[in-house]
């Protein structure tokens, strides 16, 4: 039996909490002080919360292990305070069969650092034509519940309808990358005054909103579940608000980078700011923050997208889309949502842990800090700050747009299934 006590911290509601973990579970949350000889970590000044859950992670394994592996991605996740991440299927081969999702799942298990839940492709090869063997992926060891052709919009309305219907068999959910392909041919950045001036082809907001609107209506029609990936536009937030008022079963995510950065950054032509969907305007950023605060947007998801240096050290149109996110996510959200007083710490725990675990059905995560619950726990010091240094990233890649920024909040300790995997900001080597 192993036992460890975290003393001196507070929970998200601000109440003092001394918390004891015994083996894999929380065994005590009374404020009793552990006796002499107990294994104790003093977390005075820190907040203790359920481990963060990411529903949108790119791990690049199999196929692009120079950018990221499941193991390096898991280390980045733990450093960022996550106890569960969700591997998007755009690997090589695509995660569109039970075999590939089981491979990713078992690579995750082997890390011993956090849970890695594969997301299955909706269509074979993410090509948008034929449904992938969704049921086989669900019934595999990986027990996939969420499906997405992320990076490729499920554009054909009939394919989308069938997918939404099919996953009703097991209360699954389709996570849609909303991008009308004809309106975004060769698109490089947000379409607006800046793209016009820079001569970079525009990715208009309407291309996102048109798909969100269609999918909301389809979801209502077939009474299924839709999750909208990385909403970026004010109009998208409005549409989701509209759907929720009508009781349509739609959830949505926003990324930390879309909560902070705008298309002005493209003026440098530095592709570290090239991401899909693109950075939008300050007005959109404001709407996203409001949407996250009022619950229209259910969760934060990172869209962590590692790329090797050469994919970013080139001309903007030649560069890959995407940016790192796992290690900076919590600090960015603290800065944009907590420091600005738009959200409480309890709201943050909901958007970052409870709600994503519920959407994806990760029952061991996003649970209250209560006796008997699995000990997936993150300790976070909100009073400290840190400066992002891309060269110190746990990720194999370096494409963070936050390099050099000073951000609030430091993740100090993480417990995964009762085992300490991050101790005083350092990854604990797994035996």
């Amino acid at each position: 039996m192993s036992e460890i006590s975290l003393v001196g911290g507070r929970n998200a509601a601000g109440a003092k909490i001394n918390l004891t973990i015994t083996d894999q579970k929380i065994s005590d949350i009374s404020n009793k002080v552990p006796g002499p000889g107990a294994n104790v970590i003093d977390i005075s000044g820190s907040i203790v919360i359920p481990g963060l859950v990411d529903l949108h992670t790119h791990l690049r394994e199999p196929g692009k292990e120079d950018a990221e592996t499941v193991a390096s991605g898991a280390r980045a996740a733990v450093a960022g305070g996550f106890t569960a991440i969700s591997a998007m299927p755009n690997t090589d081969p695509v995660a569109d069969t039970a075999g590939v999702v089981e491979q990713v799942f078992s690579l995750g298990k082997a890390t011993g650092l956090c849970d890695v839940f594969p997301i299955g492709a909706v269509t074979q090869g993410q090509a948008g034509k034929q449904l992938a063997e969704i049921l086989a992926m669900h019934e595999s060891a990986a027990k996939v519940r969420m499906f997405s052709d992320d990076g490729h919009c499920v554009f054909d309305p009939l394919v989308m309808r069938r997918a939404l219907e099919y996953v009703k068999m097991f209360n699954g959910v389709i996570a849609q990358h909303a991008q009308e392909p004809r309106l975004t041919i060769d698109a490089q950045m947000n379409e607006g005054e800046i793209s016009a001036r820079l001569g970079l082809k525009g990715w208009p907001a309407v291309a996102e909103e048109a798909i969100i609107a269609r999918d909301i209506l389809l979801t209502d029609h077939v009474q299924s579940r839709l999750h909208v990936c990385h909403v970026t536009t004010a109009g998208g937030v409005e549409l989701i608000r509209w759907a929720k008022v009508r009781g349509i079963n739609v959830t949505a995510e926003v990324t930390p980078h879309h909560l902070l950065l705008t298309d002005e950054l493209a003026q440098s032509y530095d592709p570290v700011y090239k991401v899909n969907p693109p950075l939008r305007t300050a007005r959109d950023v404001e709407a996203l923050r409001e949407g996250l605060a009022d619950g229209t947007i259910d969760i934060v998801a990172t869209d962590h997208a590692p790329h090797p240096t050469e994919s970013k050290e080139c001309e903007w149109p030649a560069a890959s889309f995407g940016m790192l996110g796992l290690e900076t996510a919590l600090s960015i959200v603290v800065q944009t949502m907590i420091s600005s007083k738009l959200m409480s710490w309890s709201d943050l725990v909901d958007r970052f842990s409870i709600a994503p675990a519920k959407i994806a059905g990760y029952t061991d995560h996003g649970n209250p800090l209560a006796i008997g619950n699995p000990a997936n726990i993150t300790v976070f010091n909100p009073n400290k700050s840190w400066t992002v240094n891309k060269d110190l990233a746990m990720s194999k890649s370096r494409n963070t747009p936050f390099h050099g920024m000073e951000l609030p909040g430091v993740v100090t300790d993480v417990f995964y299934n009762g085992k300490q995997v991050l101790r005083d900001t350092k990854i604990v080597s797994v035996s």
């Binding site: 820079l198 032509y269 030649a318």
Partner: protein, 325 residues
């Protein structure tokens, strides 16, 4: 002046006027029997062309050679866009060869900015056209040509009415010209169908017209842009005939021009599409002269960016050489 010329935004009003004045001085060289100055002797200028553009390349080449620079032409067949050698590796190669200036033409908007910002190389970077972004030396030669004809005694182009006609959306020439000509006091009207105007054009320092008839009689300059036939397949306009009818400079519209008005085109022209043959060859056309002026303006840019010997000293050399002859 800044070390690089990537965008017209890199130039102040004074910089722009200085380039035009310097070009006017250097134009005299082009008229001399020996068209050569020793001012950039020993300097290496690289023409780095990722896109075919014979006219721009030879214009820069002539400019550099008239200033006695060594010119290397580097036609990069592949680029990182076509999975060839990366821009970075090309830049490192040029750095290793000791290039003092790189003149870059690239299909990717912002490629010159990448070259300049990444410190892969130490020389000056001159944008010779990048994607649909800018083509600053084209705008400078256009301004030079307009000033020479319409404001010969002035520093700038105050009050000159310029219509820029055609595919504004995809035109780097239009972008640079809007920035430069307005900086110099000209009044711009962009003439194009709404499909070929950029998003947010209403906030540009220019008026917009949806047909050439509305502006032709009132313009001091009509600058026709090349319309690419492939735009039709991308649904920007229904047919060449309809485009030509509404936006082409044809004989009827040529007659409506003020007698003093200039007809300009950055080339290459589609005769019969955006410009009729009689317009292109009319007395009001300065299209061929634009090419000549391009050499003088590019000489001025190279001279000023590379910090050649002061122009007064150059003038002395010039007169000495004349004496010597």
């Amino acid at each position: 002046m800044k070390r690089h010329l990537l965008s017209i935004n890199d130039l102040t009003y004074d910089d722009a006027v200085l380039i035009l004045d310097t070009a006017a001085e250097l134009a005299k060289i082009s008229d001399a029997p020996v068209k050569k100055l020793p001012t950039l002797r020993g300097r290496t200028v690289v023409n780095l062309f990722f896109e075919d553009s014979t006219r721009t390349r030879i214009s820069f080449e002539a400019a550099a050679k008239r200033l006695s620079a060594d010119v290397i032409n580097f036609s990069a067949k592949g680029s990182s866009l076509s999975k060839g050698e990366s821009l970075k590796d090309t830049a490192l190669t040029l750095q290793a060869m000791g290039a003092d200036a790189v003149i870059i033409r690239h299909s990717a908007s912002g490629a010159p900015a990448r070259l300049a910002d990444q410190q892969w190389m130490t020389g000056s970077v001159i944008n010779a056209g990048d994607g649909t972004h800018e083509h600053p030396t084209q705008a400078l030669l256009d301004a030079f040509t307009i000033r020479k004809h319409l404001r010969p005694e002035n520093k700038d182009l105050t009050g000159v009415k310029v219509a820029i006609v055609g595919d504004i959306l995809h035109s780097r020439v239009a972008r640079s010209n809007v920035l430069l000509l307005t900086k110099l006091g000209a009044e711009i009207t962009l003439v194009a169908p709404p499909t070929l105007l950029p998003v947010g054009v209403e906030n540009w320092p220019a008026k917009v017209a949806f047909g050439l008839d509305a502006v032709v009689a009132d313009s001091d300059v009509v600058m026709m842009l090349r319309i690419q036939r492939e735009r039709m397949a991308e649904l920007f306009f229904p047919s060449e005939r309809e485009y030509s009818r509404q936006f082409g400079l044809n004989s009827d519209r040529l007659k409506k021009l003020k007698p003093t008005a200039l007809v300009m085109h950055p080339g290459p022209m589609n005769r019969g599409l955006e410009i009729s043959a009689d317009s292109a060859d009319s007395l009001q056309s300065v299209i061929v002269e634009q090419v000549t002026n391009g050499v003088s303006v590019r000489m001025a840019v190279l001279y000023l960016l590379l910090g050649g010997a002061p122009l007064a000293a150059v003038a002395n050399i010039e007169s000495n050489e004349k004496v010597g002859m």
